[in-house]
């Protein structure tokens, strides 16, 4: 029997579907993948070191640049870590505002992630632009409330930078009218398209045990059938007041992840509905006025705060030595940890599947290389 050569191919760092500057050193036998080695660090910019030099407030806009799709969630997580460290009370209204922003962010992220995923499968940009359609509207809302479309820098210690007004709420309600139909359309895209089904079903299977041992979180973990969600496991903000479900997959393939994301968008919609309903009764302003934002000096100690970012569990670990900047600052980035499971998910599949699997993990390089 003739032996064909095994080919080593570098996918990336300049490659259309690596979602940023990411390199996969791939060994293929024909089209089948034998080995995969992820190589990253091309976007490293000393984020954690900078966090130890900056003052606490100065670091807030830096967190925007982690997962630049969801700066709102990053701000929230970081603010929570600092609030825990300094023992700051957050008014109820501010909590609701943060939840609304988080859930809008989740819809935004999942819509565009699914669009990108379909784009990786070769649907010629149509799906991508479909995903970006709703994202645009949400970004407009973010701009209205924070002044920036993507780098929102919205949270402050003890609340948020600006209050939301009636116009914002009416706009959110207007946006939400179209959302259920949009979710249904997105789901139909998958369930009724034969090619998509054969590309997604049984591809990139991540078994439950493996997912747990890799400490994978977010839709990736839930797609593998583990009902773990920080919003339920350790309810933060006001998440314990809402009624919502955690969607889980059964097999753990690309198809399950797709369905989980679509379903999560629906659950976000439910949370939004309830949050908008409950918010008028919430007490307090949008921010705790007693907090000294600029010259915050938390007492000596450490804190770890986590939130459910759209990509998984996003955690911030802070150690304070009592000065104006953190002694130690560490980010638990979900993209980075989820990415570590890539090689095991890809082995034995075709090259074409690798990009689809990578797309289904939904990584952002800004978060992987901090």
């Amino acid at each position: 029997m003739l032996k064909t050569e095994e080919l080593q191919v570098n996918i990336g760092p300049q490659h259309p579907s690596t979602h940023g500057v990411f390199r996969m050193l791939v060994t293929v036998d024909g089209e089948t993948l034998v080995d995969l080695k992820p190589v990253f660090g091309y976007l490293h910019r000393n984020h954690e070191q900078l966090g130890e030099v900056n003052s606490y407030l100065q670091n807030m806009p830096f967190t925007d640049r982690l997962d630049y799709f969801n700066s709102m969630v990053n701000n929230h997580a970081y603010a929570r870590a600092v609030e825990q460290l300094a023992g700051i009370e957050v008014p109820e209204r501010a909590q609701y505002i943060r939840v609304i922003m988080d859930e809008l962010s989740r819809i935004l992220n999942h819509a565009s992630a699914l669009g990108f995923l379909l784009g990786d499968m070769g649907a010629w940009q149509t799906s991508l632009l479909w995903g970006l359609r709703e994202r645009e509207k949400i970004l407009d809302l973010f701009e209205y409330v924070s002044g920036a479309r993507m780098m929102c820098n919205y949270s402050r210690f003890g609340g948020v930078a600006r209050d939301i007004d009636d116009y914002f709420i009416s706009e959110v309600k207007k946006l939400m009218q179209g959302l259920p139909r949009y979710f249904d359309e997105f789901e139909r895209l998958l369930v009724e398209n034969e090619i998509l089904l054969v590309r997604a079903k049984g591809v990139g299977v991540l078994p439950k045990e493996l997912a747990l041992s890799y400490s994978v979180t977010g839709p990736l973990l839930r797609g593998s059938g583990v009902p773990y969600d920080v919003r339920k496991a350790e309810p933060y903000a006001v998440y314990d007041r809402f009624d919502f479900d955690i969607p889980v997959g059964t097999v753990g393939d690309v198809y399950d992840r797709f369905l989980v994301r679509v379903e999560e968008m629906r659950q976000s919609y439910r949370i939004l509905e309830q949050a908008l309903q409950q918010m008028p009764e919430a007490e307090g302003g949008h921010i705790n006025p007693k907090v000294k934002q600029q010259s915050l000096k938390p007492p000596v100690g450490e804190s770890y705060a986590r939130v459910e970012s759209p990509k998984g569990e996003l955690g911030f670990y802070l150690v304070s030595d009592g000065s104006g900047s953190a002694y130690r600052y560490k980010v638990r980035a979900p993209s980075f940890i989820n990415l570590s499971a890539l090689a095991d998910m890809c082995k034995g599949y075709k090259i074409a599947d690798v990009v689809v699997i990578l797309g289904s993990i939904d990584i952002v390089m800004g978060e992987v290389d901090r």
Binding site: A123, Q125, V198, A352, V355
Partner: protein
């Protein structure tokens, strides 16, 4: 030395001149058509994606391709250091040559009939040389992505050429000719609506041919040789500037040629209501219009598919060709034979004459019976193939091994 025919000098100068004019027309027309198609495709896809598409250069952005042509021509011509220079240079030439040759036998409406008697075969012979160009580009670039793309391209082309040619067989059976002009003329009855696509066998042939043509023209969902999200740009990776433009040109001209061929073979070419009534010149012009409308409609269908469907994986692609298309196409050849027997056989099969009367173009009973019988056969075939393929879900690797893809 008398066995070589002697032609007077002035006669062959005229021949050469006419040939040169024809070739120039095809080349200019082909490249202009390709430019129009790129614009058309981008605008159509933009419309599907809630965008506007190119609309700045010239009226409605029609001159956008011109500006792009200038851009590609003025770009630096790069050959990779370790590439095989000659092969790398010749690959686009081979690609374009293969495509342009196909245009030689396409009848443009009723105005310019082509005379080659085996025109259909000729087209697929020369477009088959595409694969050579692809391999040359893939290997000559000395790039792994290019090589992978070239391999994929060849595997795809070779396996889809079989259903493509097999899908043609019914048409050849129905018309009894290999000449495109003859095939078109024979679809002229029934007030210009005697297109082959209106019979069950013709319809099946058309659909299967269309799918195979998508693969031959590297259109989504079969664009895996240049799948940009997987292997950068496949065999095109190391090409830039004018060489890339030539590849692009040949790709679009292939698609244009495939649309023309489909319009001629299945949709009656230039036939339509009023063509015969209006006489040679006016009717010829009308036929040209019909022909272009049909071809553009087919191209629009291709664009529509490109804008909606994701790409298949290599093994799924092969599986589709061998397990799905090929059986259906083979059954279709069989049912075409039955169609011909029922509609045309008089003295050869007395039993048909006894049952349905003499074969004639107005013997509707014979046509009705033929439609019912062939429709049933084809539907059964499609159903059976679908059922069989459903049983084994994703294990499609045997075909690859048969093709030598897997080790």
């Amino acid at each position: 030395m008398t066995y070589w025919p002697v032609i007077a000098v002035d006669a062959w100068i005229g021949l050469v001149l006419v040939s040169i004019i024809k070739v120039t027309l095809i080349l200019v027309g082909g490249s202009l058509g390709m430019m129009f198609l790129t614009w058309y495709e981008r605008r159509a896809i933009a419309y599907m994606q809630d965008r506007r598409g190119p609309n700045r250069v010239g009226p409605q952005g029609l001159l956008q391709p011109v500006s792009e042509a200038i851009k590609t021509m003025t770009k630096e011509d790069i050959t990779p250091l370790d590439a095989d220079r000659v092969v790398h240079f010749l690959a686009p030439v081979v690609m374009l040559g293969a495509t342009v040759l196909a245009f030689a036998v396409i009848p443009w409406g009723n105005l310019f009939p082509s005379s080659l008697r085996v025109g259909v075969l000729f087209i697929f012979a020369v477009t088959g040389l595409h694969t050579v160009g692809m391999l040359m580009a893939g290997w000559g670039s000395n790039n792994k992505f290019a090589l992978l793309g070239g391999m994929r391209g060849v595997a795809q082309m070779v396996s889809y050429e079989i259903p493509l040619l097999m899908a043609l067989l019914p048409i050849i059976l129905l018309s009894g000719s290999l000449s495109l002009t003859d095939i078109v003329t024979r679809q002229g009855d029934w007030y210009g609506f005697g297109w082959y696509v209106f019979s069950p066998v013709g319809l099946t042939a058309f659909i299967t041919f269309f799918i195979a043509a998508l693969a031959e023209g590297e259109r989504t969902p079969f664009d895996i040789p240049e799948a940009d999200s997987e292997i950068v740009a496949g065999y095109l990776t190391e090409y830039g500037g004018m060489k890339f433009a030539v590849f692009y040109l040949s790709n679009y001209m292939t698609n244009l040629a495939l649309c023309f061929i489909m319009a001629s073979l299945f949709l009656g070419g230039g036939n339509g209501p009023g063509v015969t009534a209006l006489g040679t010149v006016l009717g010829g012009l009308l036929s040209l219009v019909y022909f272009f409308i049909k071809a553009l409609a087919l191209f629009f269908l291709m664009v529509l598919i490109r804008g909606t469907v994701p790409r298949l994986r290599v093994d799924q692609l092969m599986g589709f060709a061998w397990k799905f298309l090929l059986p259906i196409v083979l059954v279709n050849v069989f049912s075409t034979a039955i169609w011909v027997a029922i509609t045309r056989w008089g003295p050869q099969a007395q039993i048909f004459t006894d049952w349905f009367g003499e074969p004639a173009s107005d013997n509707y009973l014979r046509y009705g019976v033929a439609i019912v019988v062939t429709l049933i056969i084809n539907l059964l075939a499609v159903y059976a193939v679908m059922r069989i393929n459903r049983r084994q879900p994703s294990d499609l690797t045997e075909e690859e091994i048969a093709l030598g893809l897997a080790g």
